[in-house]
């Protein structure tokens, strides 16, 4: 490995165009899902165990904190799904230009916000 490679990974010196912000949010949403899967598995286990468990989960989801936590994980999941889909499209060579990247990021963010709001409406 050449030792004269330029190294500049001081993130505070970077400029962040929209695709970069989308990318970092994609990572953050991934971490939220990784932790949130514990909540989803717990709710799934309880709700599938018995009718009483199902009713208990339904009752919990009426609690504002549980509802908000569940929405957070669902929102992260929908965001990650939509931005991830954009990622796969770009892997196929679609939207790889600078303008295309910005447009794709805008579209993905717009779709993600709509999906996250829809999930909120559905839960509330």
């Amino acid at each position: 490995m050449k030792d004269n490679r330029p190294i500049n990974i001081d993130l505070t010196t970077f400029k962040y165009p929209l695709p970069a912000i989308t990318s970092i949010l994609h990572r953050i949403s991934g971490i939220v899902i990784f932790v949130g899967v514990a909540l989803l598995l717990y709710l799934l286990q309880l709700s599938l165990e018995s009718a009483a468990g199902f009713d208990l989960v339904a009752a919990w989801l009426d609690n504002l904190i549980v509802k908000f936590l569940t929405w957070s994980v669902l929102a992260a999941l929908l965001f990650h799904l939509i931005v991830g889909f954009k990622h796969l499209l770009m892997d196929l060579g679609i939207g790889e230009t600078r303008a295309g990247g910005v447009l794709a990021a805008k579209l993905a963010l717009l779709l993600a916000i709509i999906a996250m709001l829809a999930a909120g409406v559905w839960l509330w």
Partner: protein, 122 residues
């Protein structure tokens, strides 16, 4: 060339590919569950259980669980090797990173065993 000992497939290209394949499986499963919920007008226990209570769905759920574990590991590994380095943490970096990676591996393993229990038990 130094081969990393902590990444999923010991090869960046393999990890890259697995990340994409597992993403497709995870996306398909998420949409499948969302669609199942959407077509049921009044979701009750019987309907909810029926979604998961078939052999094909059990297989789909378990394959998705494996995809989730691989996907999560590759993602968390990538994040740890990007942000938990000597640049940010100095000489403690390797220790902190390995500790973080070990925690992620443990949680991933718990998810896998717990998930098998849930989906097999339906």
């Amino acid at each position: 060339m130094v081969t990393s000992v902590t990444n999923f497939g010991r090869s960046g290209l393999f990890d890259w590919l697995i990340q994409r394949f597992s993403a497709v499986i995870l996306g398909a499963y998420t949409l499948c569950i969302l669609a199942s919920i959407a077509v049921i007008p009044e979701l009750d226990y019987a309907h909810w259980k029926a979604i998961f209570d078939s052999n094909s769905m059990r297989m789909f759920s378990l394959i998705t669980l494996l995809a989730l574990c691989a996907h999560a590991w590759i993602g968390m590994w990538t994040i740890s090797t990007d942000y938990l380095t000597t640049l940010q943490l100095g000489t403690r970096a390797t220790f902190v990173r390995l500790l973080f990676q070990a925690s992620c591996a443990l949680l991933t393993l718990i998810y896998m065993l717990w998930g098998i229990q849930i989906f097999w038990g339906v």
